[in-house]
């Protein structure tokens, strides 16, 4: 199953003009726990999916109270300047969604 199909919410957005943040939220506590325990969501996985260096990833955090996890990484080009193609960073979630879990 793809992460895109397992999640209730999977989205990307700027968190400030210099980073993109990916949120994955579940509505089923069991599924959230399963994904968390699988241990798949690592810097290595994310760096591979987004063709970025591991140290460009500033956060990978699970938050049990919200049944979700968050990944934040540095943008290669800051929001809204020359050569950016996604000013709000709102359509960068697909590579993560393609992840098989």
């Amino acid at each position: 199953m793809k992460l895109y199909d397992a999640a209730k919410v999977i989205r990307s957005k700027n968190s400030g003009p210099f980073s993109i943040t990916l949120d994955v939220l579940f509505d089923d506590p069991k599924r959230y726990e399963q994904v968390k325990r699988m241990g798949l969501i690592t810097k290595k996985t994310v760096a591979g999916l987004y063709h970025i260096a591991e140290d460009a990833i500033t956060q990978i955090v699970f938050f049990d109270a919200a049944l979700g996890f968050k990944i934040t990484f540095d943008r290669k080009i800051s929001s809204g300047t020359c050569l950016d193609t996604d000013v709000y960073g709102a359509q960068q979630h697909i590579p993560l969604g393609e992840l098989e879990i």
């Binding site: 957005k13 400030g16 210099f18 996890f69 800051s78 809204g80 193609t85 709000y88 697909i94 590579p95």
Partner: protein, 464 residues
């Protein structure tokens, strides 16, 4: 000291609009203040760099009019954060012109009005840069050099609650803030009334997006926050929405780099051990928010510089032979243009193609390499001045339109332009050249409060 206060949050961004019924439901609950955030950096550096607002004048006036008149009637403070979107001087002045119009039209000239400026003089930044008190906010931010500072149009900083508390203490009923940390104007009311900063800031973080944390969520509807010594409650003001413990807990994910640690001016908010309880009436009760002060006190600076001038073209392509080789053809067209303009230094302009239908959104990250039956092409020239961008783009357009690629059958033209003229002379492109933390003596040092009360005899604005 009050045991609780109620904050009415009309909408997520001033000018996004809100239903009058929801707002009046909120007023019926006797709020202690009406607070709205007007700011965002979401739309990129252009608004700050060019000094333009993010919403229309009409929309801003429509939203403000009801807030100001109802606030005056109920004798409660009305506070706007990050006026005009970016919260710089021109954005605040734009907002103040609308405010004065409303006050005049409703005979409210005596309403005690203050502006809290959020502009930071470049000399202050330059001085603290030399003292090592200015640091980039993250690895993706370029270091601030004297040259880049000189090229930056204007600099704002996000204020915390402190100057807003001062303005409330001084008795101002209408407070227009320059750039502010989104939750700060909400937190200020709580702190002014002696309630915990942690609950003020956490409630503010939710209320600055108004009904976005409700189900269904929207920034275009009102929300009420009730802050007490022991926690706070979030209540939707439209019967069609409710909050759930999950929807409120998940809200802190939104647009933040971390789900439960939030950095603000001089503070860090820690929401890891919060509890979210549904009250059975569509509201949620939150406890366990924690806040700590930082030493030194740092403020976040934002500044934009002009990076280039842009001219672009939107076109479509339908021919399968063209689509099959589109990236190669674009490369060859660029080479031909560069050869034609060989007297112009290469670094004076850049050419950029975006191929929608192939990888326009994701670029190299696009996992799907299937070719579509038609492609939308946006091509742009980014140059050091507008004239050069226009000239190179015109040559690029005619070159790509008629490029004789290998095996071509459609020899009359490669592109379908939806518009005439096809070339859009866009103007300047900005970049965030300043996105840094700077040390400040305290939360009030760099945010002066200015009396803007309109009533007779107050034409000279005195700083307080």
């Amino acid at each position: 000291m009050k045991q609780e206060i109620r904050l009415l949050a009309p909408c997520g961004i001033l000018g996004y609009g809100y239903p009058k019924e929801s707002f009046l439901n909120g007023m019926a609950m006797k709020p202690d203040a009406i607070v709205v955030d007007a700011g965002s950096t979401d739309a990129g550096p252009h608004k700050l760099g060019a000094g333009v607002a993010i919403v229309s004048r009409q929309a801003c006036k429509k939203d403000l009019e009801l807030m100001i008149t109802e606030g005056a009637k109920a004798k409660i403070p009305v506070i706007v954060g990050s006026a005009g979107g970016s919260g710089g001087r021109v954005h605040v002045e734009w907002t103040m012109r609308i405010v004065r119009e409303i006050l005049t039209e409703h005979g409210l000239e005596a309403m005690r009005t203050a502006v809290i400026w959020g502009d930071i003089p470049k000399e202050v930044v330059a001085e603290r840069l030399k003292e090592g008190k200015v640091t980039p906010l993250g690895n993706a931010v370029k270091p601030l050099t004297e040259e880049r500072l000189a090229e930056t149009n204007s600099i704002v900083a996000q204020m915390g609650h402190e100057p807003v508390v001062e303005a409330l203490k001084a008795g101002y009923q209408l407070i227009i803030c320059g750039r502010a940390y989104d939750p700060a104007p909400f937190a200020a009311v709580a702190i002014w009334q002696g309630l915990p900063a942690a609950y003020g800031y956490h409630a503010g973080k939710i209320l600055e997006c108004a009904a976005l944390c409700a189900v269904p969520g929207t920034t275009k509807d009102c929300m009420l926050g009730t802050i007490t010594q022991d926690g706070f409650r979030i209540t939707p003001l439209s019967p069609s929405r409710k909050c759930t413990s999950l929807s409120v807990a998940a809200h802190t994910f939104y647009e933040k780099d971390h789900p439960y640690i939030l950095h603000g001016p001089g503070t860090v908010l820690d929401l890891e051990n919060c509890r979210f309880a549904e009250m059975g009436d569509g509201s949620v009760w939150v406890t366990g928010s924690r806040i700590s002060s930082t030493d030194p006190y740092c403020i976040k600076l934002e500044g934009a510089r002009r990076a280039a001038y842009r001219t672009f073209v939107i076109a479509g392509a339908r021919d399968p032979l063209f689509i099959r080789s589109v990236e190669e053809i674009e490369k060859l067209a660029e080479e031909q243009v560069r050869a034609y303009y060989q007297e112009i230094p290469e670094e004076d302009y850049r050419i950029h193609f975006i191929n929608y239908g192939i990888n326009g959104v994701m670029g190299d990250l696009e996992p799907n390499r299937e070719l579509p039956h038609e492609v939308g092409i946006v091509f742009e020239v980014l140059a050091k001045d507008q004239e050069l961008a226009d000239a190179v783009c015109a040559t690029l357009r005619s070159t790509l339109l008629h490029y004789g690629y290998e095996g071509r059958k459609s020899t009359a033209g490669n592109l379908a332009f939806p518009f005439a003229p096809s070339d859009v002379s866009f103007g300047p492109v900005y970049e965030f050249s300043v996105y840094h933390l700077m040390e400040a003596a305290d939360g009030c040092e760099l945010f002066p409060i200015e009396d803007m009360t309109m009533a007779e005899g107050r034409e000279d604005h005195e700083a307080v």
